[in-house]
């Protein structure tokens, strides 16, 4: 597609439920990133995929968070047993391998845990 697509744009879930957030990167972009943006905060790095290499999961805040990327394209971020502190905007970005072209962001998924 022309840009990075994220779905859903908004998600309200009950505490304790699992949620899945989807990211469809720009075709041909081998690198994909997930970030979390909490109210009044900057962007918190979560996870990074590059081609077929093992992902860099160093930013995942707990083992309730996981992500996968199928076929080097679409990625899904899963949050299990959601907590209220998980409420945030989750942003996905993609780029060609070395980052010099800048990072193209999707519009994000606003997650609200009630």
């Amino acid at each position: 597609g022309a840009g990075v697509s994220q779905s859903p744009s908004n998600k309200v879930t009950e505490k304790g439920k699992d949620v899945e957030l989807r990211c469809d990167p720009i075709s041909g972009h081998t690198a994909l990133y997930w970030y979390r943006q909490s109210l009044g905060q900057g962007l918190e790095f979560l996870i990074y995929f590059q081609g077929n290499s093992a992902p860099d999961k160093s930013g995942l805040p707990s083992d309730r968070f996981s992500a996968e990327r199928t076929g080097g394209s679409v990625s899904t971020l899963t949050i299990q047993r959601t907590q209220q502190e998980d409420s945030a905007v989750y942003l996905c970005a993609s780029t060609p391998p070395d980052g010099r072209y800048g990072y193209t962001f999707g519009s994000g998924t606003r997650l609200t845990v009630v």
Binding site: G42, L43, D56, L91, G102
Partner: protein
């Protein structure tokens, strides 16, 4: 390790006045530097980037930034702002740490343009 400090959380300014949004970074390797803008309820949009070469970088919407290696700064400027420039601005740094280019973002500066 790399880090970014945006020195002002909020910058109020009147329309048609000049503005500077400050950004300092730290990194042990050569870096790429970026400024992004985020309008309400939208994702981040690239304003400009510094990779190498000329230290003065021009971007979209009349913004420019100057890379200063000795001061490890990459401040964003615009000579005359418009109401429509009201948004959140993020400075970011990335570099080839271990073969990956994971950008680190500052906490953002909220630019508020008053009529």
């Amino acid at each position: 390790a790399q880090s970014v400090t945006q020195l002002d959380s909020q910058v109020p300014v009147f329309e048609e006045a000049p503005v500077e949004l400050r950004c300092n970074y730290s990194s042990s390797v050569s870096v790429y530097l970026f400024w992004y803008v985020q309008y309400p309820n939208q994702g981040l949009q690239l304003l400009l980037k510094y990779l190498s070469g000329s230290t003065l970088v021009k971007g979209i919407n009349g913004f420019e930034a100057e890379f200063n290696k000795s001061q490890t700064s990459f401040h964003l400027r615009k000579p005359s702002v418009h109401i429509s420039d009201t948004a959140e601005y993020f400075c970011a740094v990335s570099g080839p740490a271990g073969g990956s280019y994971i950008p680190t973002f500052g906490r953002g500066t909220s630019l508020i343009v008053h009529p």
